[in-house]
Symmetry: C2
Subunit: 95 residues, 2 copies
Amino acid sequence: MSVDDNSVIVGQKSTMNYVVACVTLFNTGTNVIKVIARGRSISTAIETVEMLRKAFIKELKIDNIEIGSQTFEKMGKTRTISTIEMTLTKPNKFH
Amino acid sequence: MSVDDNSVIVGQKSTMNYVVACVTLFNTGTNVIKVIARGRSISTAIETVEMLRKAFIKELKIDNIEIGSQTFEKMGKTRTISTIEMTLTKPNKFH
């Protein structure tokens, strides 16, 4: 999992927040963005991408979906959390 | 989203239940299985695949990951739920 300037990290806010974040990012001129989430937020991340593609950017393409897991210590116990990273591209329009 | 005999549908039980279901399915001789989940269960589905690949079937390959959404009526309101479908393959071993 790699986070850069063109990443939207999905957390516990409502889906629409992240849809707007993605649209804004595309409007800065970027053609490739990443939507990243961990654990329970993964379903929100998928909702974000689906809403984006059905209602906002019809020509959106899902280039790649990667899953993984991260291990961390919490109160002395080792816990594992799953992650998702979706790479989205918006094709250039030639007028 | 298509459910068939070689699908494991992930719900609200603990991850290990679904890991065992996948191992059992592969042991019947199938080389390709699908792990399917909706909404909150999606993170459990990803945990299942990650555990399967790290601890049980090292040679496991994730062939394809598809995301989608389903719309349904609940108490007069239209609700949308996101879905994931992961296709896993276990390469044949030639001894």
